[in-house]
Amino acid sequence: MDMVVHQAQKLVVVGNGMAGMRTVKEILQRAPGRFDVTVFGAEPHPNYDRIMLSPLLAGEKTFEQIVINSHEWYINNNIELVAGEHVDWIDRETKTVRGANGTVRPYDVLLLATGSNPFTLPLPGVNRPGVMTFRSVADVEDMIAVAAPGKKAVVIGGGLLGLEAAHGLNLRGMDVSVVHLMPTLMERQLDASAAHLLERALTQRGMTIYTSANTDHFDGDGEDGAVTAVVLKDGTRIEADLVVMAVGIRPNSGLARAVGLACERGVVVDDHMCTSDPAIYAIGECIEHNKQCYGLVAPIWDMAKVAADHICGVASSAFTPVASGTRLKVSGIEMFSAGEFLGDKTTEDVVLRDAARGIYKRLVLRDNKLAGVVCFGDARDAGWYFQLLKDAQDLADLRETMIFGPVAASDPSEALAATPESAEICGCNGVKKGAILDAIAAHGLCSIDDVRARTKASASCGSCTGLVEGLLKLSLGAGYAPAAVKPMCKCTSHGHDEVRRRIVSAELKTIPAVMQALEWQTPDGCASCRPALNFYLLCAWPGEYQDDAQSRFVNERMHGNIQKDGTYSVVPRMWGGMTDAAQLRAIADVVDKYNIPAVKLTGGQRVDMLGVKKEDLPAVWKDLNEAGFVSGHAYGKALRTVKTCVGSEWCRFGVQDSTAMGIALEKATWGSWHPHKVKLAVSGCPRNCAESTIKDFGVVATEAGWDLHVGGNGGIKVRATELLCKVTTEEEVMEYACAFLQLYREEARYLERTAHWIERVGLKYVQEKMVDNAELRRSLYAKFLHAQSYAQKDPWAEQTEDKQAQKFGAMAELA
């Protein structure tokens, strides 16, 4: 009797990229265990998200963060991964593939997903070291090896890929130029007006853009030395330490062509993604379907489903390309385009421009239907426009208001109710309306945070928050009670916490970017929100954010405390309140030299020189700098003083060396910016002569070690500190102090003293975060030290440079 043995078929996938692995996942869903799968990948990595190469280049993501399927995934799914070996032959007779290192695997079904290759311009000097492409992790590693702040990069190609490379290199501090052959950037996705806005925005971010620029050759040292410049046909010479060629891609169809499969530009496939050999399928950027090649992800996901249906034999679907829109973000600017956005003689335009906010929208209509759309600077309504375009909806009723989006077109809740369940609400995380409604019903969600935690909708860039709120309202009716939030100021409806969250999650890195993304209602904010935003950005992006002097209150801009008659007070730092004869003599000399009318000892154990004229400030600082002083930051929302007593060195009651502890704390924390002023103190015994218990962070020595107190202040309403915890060593005092300051920096609202912050969140919350959780405490400590590596620059020394000094003098003098 014959036994029927059900043996797994062999599926070999050539290409370990996004298209191939997506198809494998679709196959595993449809027919788990049906195939023994082997995957060949030319790159020595597991499968990663190629769209994320730009954040990888910018240093915003690590390689681990862009991996889609780890090695464990392959093992768990019983998939053999042959990484780092490209396939150089397919024997269609014997149905085997052979890798370059000799690995041979038989197949029943073969899937080609070989992707595309970057197109390289065959120009003189193209082989010089330093000229590279932008397509793989290896390319990014090559770029990072050369990239350094101040070095020069030239990107050839002002399309999507080129601008992503340019953005990444710009964030690495490189001096970036973009050379583009066409008269406008990204001409395949943007019309001339939007491209102009983009060019302006990139220029403002420090890039230099050359359009209608034709590259002639690459100069370098000697015959084949490293590249030093890009020379254009018109003779323009652009210095370059690094050249990135991003002029386009072409399907990687060489292997298919060599083994006799039908090929044009790409591997020709039918509607089932099958090649001219019925045992071989192909998918992704390597194929050509109805004379069309593809480079965007959405149609490739559709191909993966169709290919899986046929490979598993479960359905007879067909690939039909649908209009696809391009939604992208370059340098934090949202853009969207779809359809015939350039228009022609048979179309009409409806255009909205909001120059102040850098917004441009163009709707292209034909026969009262939407034929194309471009959105620049605001792509919130892109999904709605795209749906109208796909549905070829008659726009007679909508035409007048549709440029303002669905909200203006009808009652917003009705529009949202009418949106199909399949409509995407959150573009970042691909969450559809139906999924959000289901989650609200199934888990009893009742707040935005609940929805974010459960579905990830609105958890990334946050631009769909309004829509998610609308869905909560639809589901819960009157039961939805959003927490009342006090807006930051009259310029916005957002509260401080939401603004801070969005700065981090949407990676907003300039004040205009925040105002744009959060829809500020004034062109450039006000005296209340600008200093707050400046601090939030400084705190979120240390070393990266460019401090905006014009958004700082006068004291922080002038590095002195403005007095009621318009003069300034100057307070040099005295570490832990210690001084000596040389310092006092230098101060006396400065007082005499500049006729400073008053000198006073401050409550923070240092010397205040009052009544210094604005134009004398740079010279006063220079003299004080030369005597070894740095700014005391007595004027800023910053670390002010660390007050100490003489401690065990001198005092008969002292049990620890409080002076040395105080000096160490001040040396570690000076220069740090905070939501409000911050004062520290260290007392050498519980008699507490340094008044540690009315300080933001107060340290009191005991026989056994140190008591750490937080949240005290003097001021209008005196508040004594609360005991945070007890520690034993100086190292612990340092770690806890810095971690506390960092938590305060990250979580308090601007102009909220530690006292008010702790009253709002509760001492217990602070203890959970940084006493009970040692890991979090160490991470806060590390973040503080990292920020300090940029912040500890003496503002006085920087300001005495001649060119800076000019801002303190008059612009002109009229007789």
């Binding site: 006000c526 014009q550 003098e813």
Partner: protein, 113 residues
């Protein structure tokens, strides 16, 4: 308004637009006191007496936003165009004619006698 406007008025070159930071100000010294020259985000320039109508705070040191400046001393908001206090506060500081030509800032002054 400057009381010399009906007399012989001419525009004095007081410097380049680039000498003034965007959303900032610089001062011009005159025998009658300092005049603050403001530059907005969109590169308009305005000139006001550098004294807040409230308690003479130096407006040139305030934060510029839109076409207003917030006085650094007590937070009054002054219109750059008119010199008048905005909101509930009442008061006005003198303003002067100023214009930009070829990147240079020109301030209206009455002819010297």
């Amino acid at each position: 308004m400057m009381d010399g406007l009906q007399k012989d008025v001419f525009f004095a070159d007081i410097g380049a637009l680039e000498d003034i930071p965007r959303l900032g100000a610089r001062c011009v010294k005159t025998p009658a006191g300092d005049i603050a020259i403001f530059r907005t985000a969109r590169d308009s320039v305005f000139a006001l007496r550098d004294k807040c109508p409230h308690k003479n705070g130096p407006l040139s040191q305030g934060i510029v936003h839109g076409e207003s400046v917030t006085c650094p001393l007590h937070g009054w908001v002054i219109s750059l165009r008119t010199g008048a206090a905005e909101g509930p506060d009442v008061g006005c500081t003198p303003h002067f004619a100023v214009k930009i030509e070829n990147g240079r800032v020109l301030l209206a002054v009455s002819a010297p006698l």
